[in-house]
Amino acid sequence: MIAHFPILVIVVVLLAAPIVPLVGRKNWVFGWYVATGATLLSFLMSLSLLNTVLTDGRISYWLGNWEPPFGIEYVYDPLNAFVLVLVSFLAFMVAVYARKSLEAELQPDRLTPFYSMYMLFVAGLMGMVATGDLFNVYVFLEITSLAGYCLIAVGQKREALMASFTYLILGTIAATFVLLGIGYLYMATGTLNMADLAQRLPDLYQSKVVLTAFAFFTVGLSIKIALFPLHNWLPNAYTYAPSVTSTIMAATATKVGAYALIRVMFTVFQPDFEVTVVHVTQVLIFVSSVAILAGSIIAVAQTDIRKMLAYSSIGQIGYITLGIALMNEIAMTGSVVHILNHALMKGSLFLVVGAIVYKTGITHINDFIGLGKKMPVTMAAFTIAALSMIGVPLTVGFVSKWYLAIGSLDAGMWYLIPVILLSSLLTAVYFWRVIDNIYFKKPEKENADEQTPPGISEAPALMLVPTFALAALCVVFGIFASVPVSIAEKAAVMLLR
């Protein structure tokens, strides 16, 4: 069976999607069991895949045993095996967390469909990561997008519908762009297999069709990852969606988009295309820097914690694209590692917010006063993740920043260091407001808490464990950074060779 893990890792989740409504018709809890079990199984399989890739090298799986480039091929190399582990791990963690959180946030009759959609969403993401066929990427992109619109739209407030609709429009434009790009490449080369494209394209680099295709790809995927001027859909989507949706989207969806961008830029097109033909990197460096700063600055101005985290995500995406655009191995390592690191940090932060909403319904930062005593474990997770976002050493945030900064110097662009560090400072500013409120500010009514000592009222263990696990991983991978970094380095070397 191990030989079939490359496909099963996705099929398990994909087939869980129709099974969930079958078993969950009477009671959604069975749907939850299936969803959690499927993601766990998928996570274990992806770990085994990563292990195989690291020891034996690239895996290629032919669907229906049709030889590529005629058949569809699933390819695993250090880059996507790494991303796959990340996606399936977070999907599992969030699934565990979802049980209690969704029960509180959604109407009961929407729970089973939600888990089904959640499975589709995750399967789409994993499929995008695993496939070596460009059209397959589009198919999975649509699966994950459509499921994503549903996951957002079920949010409690009416604004959720509007947010979902905005995302629907922009997401459809993005998907159409990607499809156009695929179409043009197919027109020019007659193939959809990525490896095959990579061989055929260099002769056609001057072709207008290929250039247009590249433009469509970059713009389309930039919308998907919410790169700064194209980020409009993201803040409302994260704010009004159920906590579970915000978490899984913030932690994985944009990351997979970034992965797709890396694939298109460095596997389908080769690095020298960006260097000699289109010079897209300068533009991307500029846009990323603006994204990093703008995201952080706007985040400082937010009073709703989820909006704050959403804008912070927009800034963090800038880090990933910055590392991509610098086009050297150190920065690329930083980018790939940051895909993991940001997923851990943001995942943990959004889970904390979900726990706060579950317990108190508060999302306004000013109302956080005194939470440090009421929910000590949750708030400890928040603090760790926040410190990591700031980039304090021994957390994962520092690792990413280290590689990006040294990578900038290596590219001769010292002026990016102030950008990176300024954004760290801004991150400190907006997170410290929250931490001050949680731990150090006194409630307005002086005597209120003295008369009734604040009892500990933590979120249930099913929510606490995933939240704290992600936060703990921020420290674990911050200390033993060589583990993810060595994989990311392999990926970077492979991409830029």
Binding site: H4, I7, L15, P18, P21, L63, G64, N65
Partner: protein, 145 residues
């Protein structure tokens, strides 16, 4: 009043009763013909779903929902996809790759491929038909809540 008129509309009902079997037969033909000629699970599924929609149009929502229970369409939705995925996984157990039909236990590998494709076309058809019906009912019926 409107409902009553609908019920009394005998011409429409009869026309529907006459044509629905043929539509459904045609749908099955399209599905079964998928691996050789134009057509296939999706098109056939749409036609199959259309026949049920015609029934609901002719007999009214009340009667339609009575005949086509929601749980049935829900189950069919899932069953179709599971049929597709199940055949894929069955190939794995028979020693092939995912969706490698020619390993199916039939004398001739070509025939096996054909059977495998018909199998997944049927799966697609079931799901598409069920989805068509669900979509129609969900958009047409008044929200009672």
């Amino acid at each position: 009043m409107a409902k009553r008129k609908m019920k009394e509309n005998i011409i429409r009902k009869t026309a529907a009763r006459l044509s629905i079997p043929f539509i459904q037969l045609y749908a099955l033909y399209v599905i079964a013909h998928g691996e050789l000629g134009p057509g296939g699970g999706f098109q056939g599924g749409v036609i199959l779903g259309a026949s049920v929609i015609l029934f609901i149009l002719a007999y009214g929502m009340e009667e339609g929902v009575n005949r086509v229970k929601q749980w049935k369409t829900d189950v069919l939705n899932s069953v179709g996809v599971l049929l597709y995925g199940g055949i894929g996984i069955l190939c794995l157990f028979l020693g092939g790759k995912y969706l490698q039909y020619n390993v199916l236990p039939v004398s001739d590998p070509k025939l096996a491929s054909q059977l495998g494709i018909i199998g997944i076309e049927i799966g697609v058809g079931i799901t598409v038909a069920a989805i068509m019906i669900t979509l129609f009912i969900e958009t047409a019926r008044r929200d009672e809540k």
